[in-house]
Assembly symmetry: C2
Amino acid sequence: MTTKEIKHVPEPVLRRLPRYLQILTRLKEEGIKEVSSTRIADELRLDSTQVRKDIEFTGIIGKPKTGFLVPQLIHAIESFLNWDNVTDAFLVGAGSLGTAILGYPGFNNYGINIIAAFDSNPEKAGGTIRNIPIFHIDKLPDLSHRMHVHIGIITVPAAAANEVATMMIDGGIKAIWNFAPVQLRVPKEIIVENVLLHASLSVLTRKLGQSIQDQK
Amino acid sequence: MTTKEIKHVPEPVLRRLPRYLQILTRLKEEGIKEVSSTRIADELRLDSTQVRKDIEFTGIIGKPKTGFLVPQLIHAIESFLNWDNVTDAFLVGAGSLGTAILGYPGFNNYGINIIAAFDSNPEKAGGTIRNIPIFHIDKLPDLSHRMHVHIGIITVPAAAANEVATMMIDGGIKAIWNFAPVQLRVPKEIIVENVLLHASLSVLTRKLGQSIQDQK
DNA sequence: TTTTAATCGAGAAAAATATATCGAGAAATT
DNA sequence: AATTTCTCGATATATTTTTCTCGATTAAAA
Ligand SMILES: NC(=O)c1ccc[n+]([C@@H]2O[C@H](COP(=O)([O-])OP(=O)(O)OC[C@H]3O[C@@H](n4cnc5c(N)ncnc54)[C@H](O)[C@@H]3O)[C@@H](O)[C@H]2O)c1
Ligand SMILES: NC(=O)c1ccc[n+]([C@@H]2O[C@H](COP(=O)([O-])OP(=O)(O)OC[C@H]3O[C@@H](n4cnc5c(N)ncnc54)[C@H](O)[C@@H]3O)[C@@H](O)[C@H]2O)c1
């Protein structure tokens, strides 16, 4: 790989890296300085070569016999995922799921910082959750332009999701984390990451159905 | 494929099927009787061959020029995912995320029916959410045995997740839908489906970081 | 010091997944 | 009735992702 060559990173790699990070953070707390790909792989039931290849993307090189330096690897993964410079985000839809996300303090460790929420229900406007203010949705266009927010989180009902996405994009948002079970119709330069819980469930229920069938 | 041969279904296929279902349900509401793989593919920005291949798993065969019958396909996918006979589930951890899930009526359409929730906080026990009773966690072993529940949902803090998983398995649960960001250590016959929101975020933040970098 | 054991990283191989090609069938159009 | 258009589904190909193999390197043990 030459100096400035941009190498494509497979999504499966991106999804595994935070899992490594989770182990590494724990090891660091335990005072462990070095870790091998074998150890990470064993904990996550993966192949050690895969772990090594994933780590290779971050640019960190290990040492035979001992492995990787824990703090160095943590830093490299966080930097690779862009989690070292936290990006501001808006959340739209302060319903039950939206409230849970707003209430979760952990996301700051994962690269995003929710600075405001919006809802179409006038009764929700004016309140705060964990010091995050909730505004009426009408305020979104103005505020997103002024605050240069780049990430939008959609937790509105499916029927409203596309409308909200359009507002976000008009407001300058570049990436959308979408929890509504619909396909967003957005320009292709907009990054969309869907959290499709029904897709997750489909894997679970199908496997369960199979395993029950197999027992017969 | 001979009569009783069990064909392995790739996970990516299982994750796409509910997305098809969502389109199909909408089309059915609009009174549309037939749909082609091309149309589904266009809406989801997929390849039509892939859609056809996925549908093939459900056993439905289409007709040239017109495609597939919408109601028939809906039924086939639901049956394939085991969503036609809804499975009872327990949820453990009636915190903010757990409450959101308990409050969501949509899961009954996705094959699961949450019949009870548990929490270690005595103050939460006794209440109900959407008519779902919340019990103290101590009641879990007894109740799960008596009620023959097969699915467990974990929405407790990461530190408590493994302990809860063990209790669930002892109680006869066969499949776990895990929202805690930890690797559950369970026997291999137990089905675990993780919802790793930090993994989803890692994809988003990395891509965003890249796209911002590329513009420079 | 020599031996042993563990690991990395490069390259090859295998497996899984996605995409392309094309003949045949069915509906609509001429 | 012939032609065009669209689609399915079988097969082949391409791409992506995972796993395997192995020599080199390092630390610890003998
Ligand atoms: N709650 C869950 O467990 C769960 C699970 C899976 C998926 N989801 C999805 O997440 C989304 C939200 O679910 P929920 O349970 O929080 O629903 P909810 O009804 O509790 O919350 C939706 C919120 O969005 C607001 N809203 C509606 N239209 C709006 C608009 N145009 N602009 C701004 N705000 C608007 C409503 O006022 C409400 O506060 C839905 O798409 C749902 O399918 C939720
Ligand atoms: N809220 C979110 O948006 C969000 C996002 C990503 C991941 N998660 C994960 O979901 C889980 C729950 O998050 P949350 O925000 O709802 O937390 P929370 O603190 O609001 O809820 C946790 C609940 O679990 C209960 N609990 C704790 N230990 C228990 C035990 N041993 N047995 C039974 N109940 C127990 C607590 O009493 C509490 O009610 C966490 O693992 C968190 O990392 C949450």
